[in-house]
């Protein structure tokens, strides 16, 4: 990849940003969304812009496309040159001619980025309709060609499908087809694989690299994931608080970054090599036996009855003071298992033992005393806390429901806030006054307030930036030791699983395909699916920051 970049840079940049500045509306936490951003993208080059949320990486992309949200953000300075032509201040009609034709964009969420009520063929053809005088028949032929080029199966029938009939990966292929059908010189990809499963992500990354190599497209690739960077980048631009912190080649940034901020980011990337962990011999806190959950739909006069096995014969156990991971892609059933164990849903069959009691079939009234033993921390801290209640009220709600006095509960809440690294006097503030990482700490404090035996973390660090993620993982490990907690850790992220789990169970299509100590599974996976999952993990051959240890 390094060679391609060297060859490309001879041809001169196709995109040059110089001193690009976008102002935030008054009253924001800083003056500019992006401030004096300068870098370039060469022909046939993939430049990754990396940064945490709020770093201004997406704003940079929107500014280039001329798609800054009207009335909120405005270009206030600097220059954008596309193929040598200044486009920072050209009119909207002129910009529209460039968009889709000379520069195009793909987005994070293939589920929502396509119009749900229009056939995918028409949505790809729309670009041709706007920019070319081709007839309907010619357009259809070109659409079929590009659909074949992005390896969509059976283009002849898929061209008339609606987005909801396609998988996430297929939809992203449709987006890429629409973006590349007119052979633009610049493709902007804004987190295009973040919402995809790891195996799908690997395929889409391969496709983007293949398409840009064949067509010589310059790619501005926005991501927060250093694994993806390692996989695809020629050059890397690191951003923080709207400014460019460091620019370098992929290998420079990943193995020996110069700037302290980049070094911190690189150090936070969890390694795919699990640390050695001692086997745990404490008492079993949770054990499930042949846990099943099936969903049935249809029936009377409404077509065929369909039965979906969301979880089938899941048998796992978690000991006190142990973290057991359930790893799988979307639809694998990992969240279904977690919800059954917390009895948020009723399992179809099987047993769930918490301590000595089987809670799988307890009716709600008799289940209630056991509810406090199992607590969950959810994925999205922006939605899991009630925005209308103070965090203190959220934390004490559970204990008070179970008979603790408000004063005692408040006292415990203060201790817990301290424990999770927040100010105890922040209890009377509201969730929106905290950052995502802080909210997740509050969610953990809320769960701990119930003094549970089992803590379920359902993708609890997936929505967090990598540096914050590392802190929250450390906190989870800390409370596990301190309270001798059993932790069930649900995740799709192999790196996170490698770092925090003592044992893992790999799930696919509702079935546990492989389970065992994390070390063993990572060292020698036995099931073909586990193999495929590891092979797809981005940046697996790369040792992040290996040059740093020598320096520091």
């Amino acid at each position: 990849m390094q060679d391609a970049s060297d060859a490309a840079s001879d041809l001169g940049p196709i995109l040059e940003l110089d001193g690009l500045t976008v102002a935030l509306p008054k009253g924001g936490d800083r003056r500019n969304a992006i401030d004096s951003v300068s870098f370039g993208v060469g022909r046939g080059e993939i430049v990754c812009v990396v940064g945490e949320s709020g770093s201004g990486k997406s704003v940079t992309a929107q500014a280039v496309m001329g798609l800054l949200p009207k009335g909120q953000l405005a270009l206030t300075g600097g220059s954008i040159k596309l193929e040598g032509r200044e486009i920072a201040n050209i009119s909207q009609p002129e910009l529209r001619k460039l968009r889709g034709q000379r520069m195009s964009m793909i987005f994070q969420e293939p589920m929502t980025a396509l119009n749900p009520v229009e056939r995918v063929g028409e949505q790809i053809g729309e670009v041709l309709e706007i920019h070319t005088p081709l007839s309907a028949a010619e357009r259809r032929q070109k659409v079929l060609d590009i659909m074949a080029a992005v390896h969509l199966p059976d283009p002849a029938s898929m061209i008339d499908a609606f987005p909801h009939q396609l998988s996430g990966g297929q939809r992203q292929r449709v987006m890429i087809a629409a973006a590349l059908v007119l052979d633009p010189v610049l493709l902007i990809a804004d987190e295009p694989t973040t919402a995809l499963d790891v195996t799908t992500q690997a395929q889409i990354l391969k496709l983007i690299a293949e398409m840009q190599a064949r067509r010589g497209t310059g790619v501005l690739f926005i991501t927060h994931d250093f694994g993806v960077v390692a996989e695809i980048a020629h050059r890397v631009v690191v951003m923080q608080h709207g400014r460019v912190v460091e620019i370098g080649s992929r290998d420079e940034i990943i193995t020996r970054p110069r700037e302290p901020y980049t070094q911190m980011l690189i150090r936070s990337v969890p390694s795919l090599h699990p640390p050695d962990r001692k086997p745990n011999a404490s008492t079993v806190a949770l054990s499930t036996d042949k846990l099943c959950k099936t969903y049935a739909s249809g029936g009377f006069l409404a077509g065929k009855r369909r039965v979906v096995k969301a979880a089938a014969d899941v048998t796992i156990d978690v000991r006190r003071g142990e973290t057991v991971g359930i790893v799988g892609e979307s639809g694998s059933g990992k969240t279904t298992v977690a919800r059954c164990i917390a009895r948020l849903i009723q399992p179809t069959s099987g047993t769930i033992r918490i301590g000595d009691i089987d809670v799988a079939t307890l009716p709600e009234r008799r289940l209630r005393p056991h509810r406090k033993h199992v607590q969950i921390v959810f994925q999205d801290p922006y939605r899991s806390l009630n925005p209308r209640r103070t965090v203190g009220a959220s934390i004490i709600e559970g204990p008070v429901n179970f008979g603790l006095s408000t004063d005692d509960a408040m006292r415990r809440a203060k201790d817990l806030m301290q424990l999770v690294g927040l100010q105890p006097d922040a209890l009377d503030r509201f969730p929106h006054q905290f950052s995502g990482g802080q909210r997740q700490r509050i969610a953990i404090a809320r769960a701990l307030a119930m003094e549970p035996k089992l803590l379920i973390a359902d993708e609890a660090v997936s929505a967090l930036d990598v540096s914050v993620q590392a802190q929250v993982l450390a906190l989870l490990d800390d409370v596990r030791v301190r309270f001798d907690l059993a932790v069930l850790f649900i995740t799709h992220d192999l790196r996170v699983a490698a770092q925090i789990c003592d044992r893992i169970a790999v799930m696919q299509n509702g079935v546990v395909v492989e389970a065992g100590p994390t070390m063993e599974i990572f060292a020698s996976p036995k099931h073909p699916y586990t193999h495929a999952l590891f092979a797809a993990a981005p940046g697996r051959g790369v040792r992040f920051g290996e040059g740093l240890k020598a320096v520091s």
């Binding site: 496309m65 798609l67 910009l95 529209r96 001619k97 460039l98 968009r99 889709g100 034709q101 195009s104 964009m105 987005f107 969420e109 929502t112 980025a113 396509l114 119009n115 749900p116 009520v117 229009e118 729309e126 670009v127 706007i130 920019h131 609606f162 909801h164 987006m175 629409a178 006069l301 409404a302 077509g303």
Partner: protein, 313 residues
């Protein structure tokens, strides 16, 4: 799909049965005697009793109800007390003005309200948005008959653009039919324009924040096409829902509008029938209106599938 339609039609049967019972009972429970009205002011008790027995009103209520239902199953909706005609024939004669008025009102509503609401959403916060919102409040709170008389005063009496009242049958010429219908349709549609413009605004506003709108712009699509092809197409389902649900309001509006403009339709027939306590006519017309309501909403549900391929029954 056809199984779904069949299920919905089956579900309409109990609805119609309940309506039939309610309308039948309510008429019999109102303190008024059709026989006395027919007999006139100078009739004696014996004459009234004779008329009552001739109309079958001296029978027990249950018997009357069973006779009515039984006759309907044979296609006989009874004879109007007042017009001395078969109710079925009466309805056929009166149905054209009502259908013309309703359809034209809906066409007017959609062609005014949907562009207006879309524009308001697109220019959120601008004067046009505030105008649409303000108009909605007024349009929805002013009663139909007030709007009707105001329009007559302005457009018919003062400006003399339209006739004050009356109807011309379609068979006597399209131009005259349209000319005489515009004012009543406009009157009737104001409430709907208000409601549907607001609904369109809300619905489009929500959709405008969707990712696929950004995608369309990234393709270089023009703003008009972004609005029509991507925003409106996705906002259509809630708008359709409101059109279906407000159909009941439309029927109420038809009754008032036909009275204001003396259009010889079902609305006017209803008013006259109520005043004359013409039981068979009232019953039949109300059953017909309920059936229309049920069918329109079924039609709306089926129409969803045209606008949103994700909806399948």
């Amino acid at each position: 799909m056809s199984a779904y339609i069949l299920r919905r039609l089956l579900a309409a049967i109990p609805v119609m049965a309940i309506v039939a019972v309610l309308v039948f009972l309510m008429l019999r429970l109102t303190p008024s005697d059709p026989a006395a009205i027919i007999a006139g002011d100078f009739a004696n008790d014996q004459q009234i009793a004779e008329i009552r027995s001739k109309l079958g009103l001296d029978q027990p209520i249950l018997t009357q109800f069973l006779i009515w239902i039984g006759n309907m199953f044979q296609g006989d909706f009874g004879e109007s007390f007042f017009y001395k005609k078969q109710v079925a024939q009466l309805i056929v004669e009166r149905v054209e003005p009502t259908i013309s008025l309703s359809l034209l009102a809906i066409v007017l509503t959609v062609s005014i309200a949907v562009p207006l609401g879309t524009l308001a959403a697109y220019k959120q916060g601008s004067w046009i948005d505030r105008f649409v919102m303000g108009f909605s409040v007024i349009g929805f709170s002013v009663p139909v008959f007030v709007v009707g008389y105001l329009l007559i005063y302005l457009l018919a009496v003062k400006l003399d653009w339209f006739p004050v009242q009356g109807y011309q049958y379609l068979s006597d010429g399209f131009a005259g039919w349209l000319h005489r219908l515009i004012l009543p349709s406009l009157t009737l549609s104001i409430v709907f324009v208000a409601l549907i413009a607001r609904m369109t605004r809300t619905s489009v506003l929500e959709v405008l924040h969707e990712d696929y709108i950004r995608t369309a712009r990234a393709k270089g699509q023009s703003e008009l096409k972004v609005l029509v092809r991507h925003a409106l197409a996705n906002a259509a389902v809630p708008i359709l829902t409101v059109i279906g649900l407000t159909f009941a309001t439309l029927i109420g509006g038809v009754v008032v509008t036909e009275s204001v403009y003396t259009l010889p339709g079902l609305g006017l027939l209803t008013v006259d029938a109520v005043l004359a306590r013409d039981y068979p006519t009232i019953q039949a017309v109300i059953l017909l209106f309920s059936l229309a309501y049920v069918l329109v909403n079924l039609l709306v549900d089926v129409a969803y599938t045209l606008f949103d391929p994700r909806i399948r029954y």
